[in-house]
Amino acid sequence: MKTLNYALLLAALCSTSCYSFRGSKGGGQTTAAATRQASADDILLPAGYQIEIVAEGLSYPTALTTDDKGGLYVTEAGYVYGDVFTTPRLLRLNNSQPEVIYSGDKNGPWTGVTYHDGSFYISEGGQTAGGKILKVTRDGKASVLLDSLPGMGDHHTNNPVIWKDHLYFGQGTATNSGVVGPDNADFGWLKRFPTFHDLPCEDIVLAGVNFESNNHLGTGKANTGAYLPFNTASRPGQTIKGCIPCSGAILRIPLRGGKTEVVAWGLRNPYGLALDRTRNKLYVAENGADDRGSRPIFGAPDVLWEVKEGAWYGWPDYVAGLSLKDHKGFKAPGSAPLKPLLLKEPGEVPKPVAKLGVHSSSNGTDFSTSDQFGFKGEAFVAQFGDMAPNVGKVWKPVGFKVVRVDPETGVVTNFAINKGKHDGPASWHRARGLERPVSVTFSADGKSLYVVDFGIMLMRDGQVLPQPNTGVIWKISKKS
């Protein structure tokens, strides 16, 4: 009887809560073959909608835009996590073969593109030379509107949106949660840029919290403070001067040229910037913090925010509007309690419009403007999917779908998902549907939603393994 009790106790412990004992079952953690044969048959949509393949065989596509004649254009990233470099390209999707409009430098990822008044505006991520905003004409002549953006780290220069005669874009942070650490060596950039770190948009005063790690740039141990280079300690009360451009912000420049301005800051990776033409407001899907590095954060949701001019959104001391010091649930298992990095908070943090799945990588976003398509006024968000276990463990795959969000209520509802018992990419299901949706764009008439599907990215033995030539462009529309 005693043996039975112990057996039951062990079974209960192993199967229920013990996070430390449990493995991770992320969407990239599969032994599936790294090839792809896409089919709309394996995707579920609400009744009355249909999905079809527009293009396939692309390498790391990230964004789509349309010109004034309805032509479709796609960016291929040119850089992928796993420290993989290829050539970033702007392609026109023709019936037979994509046509290369422009090939860029080895400075990706190209994260976004928009078309305006005869030209394409591209956000060049900046992994080797800093982020840039490029302007490319229809016949492939390129010029640089803005450069030297702090995009050499974990997160990059993102997704341009043109509004009110300005070009708005997101600038992601260098680090996960404010401190350069061993995880940044794993990303590959720490050795390339050993003094790179996050840059605040306004003067900040540090609490003087430092983090010890192995010294990935030398021998022995390193001691690193927030907003400082690796192995540089901070002091309590130390001021870090604000600067423009800064990291973790939404910035803008006048289309005709002029000063770069901060719109909002304190955003970790403001990737999915989108204009809601119904409400005439700007929104952004932000990727929340990961359970990694010198200051891991557990359970941080991705967030859809309304962009409020002048606001500070809380990074690195808040997650989804909640302060890390007051909410113990964000402490990563096995790690020290989280202490604020800033002595004084730069402002009052807004409340999220919606909270999205932890590790879902909620990325490119667009709003429905059409009663014909439906869900007018709702945000559609492409969820790239988890990169577990590198970002932290998950119980089951998170993301790998398109969701819609009602900005009035914060209600998140599935819109395009793979058939099967759980969320997860087609490769995980051994099926042929969505892999990693990275962005969505409505057609100019609002009747179709294009889904840019990045393709297969496996997570094996700590390595990030993106697979070229597996990207797909899908088109969703109402059945006639």
Partner: protein, 112 residues
């Protein structure tokens, strides 16, 4: 000892329920229909406090919860369990927790 065994069996039952597969198409089909103020509030509160770790009631960062008995859900919300934090009454008042439970019952019924 009988009591302990009962608790352990219950914990196993919960974990098996969490592993049970649910029909994922209900939300695509517009179910459950949110046709009362309590369901509406429950849905909004669920999105605010629960959705990010348990998307649609299914597993994500945390396990699926549709199969967990309501009394256990309440216990876990108020006391936390493992890596799940507790949500006290100051953060999540009883009325809102009641509405979340009602909403989850509707989601579970719709997903059968």
């Amino acid at each position: 000892m009988q009591k302990i065994r009962l608790i352990i069996i219950l914990a196993l039952f919960v974990s098996l329920q969490a592993a049970c597969h649910r029909n994922r198409t209900a939300a695509l089909e517009g179910r459950p229909v949110i046709n009362s103020e309590r369901l509406k509030n429950g849905q909004v509160m669920y999105m605010r406090y629960c959705e990010s770790c348990h998307p649609g009631g299914s597993a994500g960062l945390g396990p699926g919860i549709l199969g967990t008995p309501s009394f256990l859900k309440r216990f876990q919300v108020r006391h936390g369990l493992g890596t799940m934090p507790a949500f006290k009454k100051e953060t999540l008042p009883k009325k809102d927790l009641d509405d979340i439970i009602l909403y989850l019952k509707a989601v579970k019924k719709a997903s059968k």
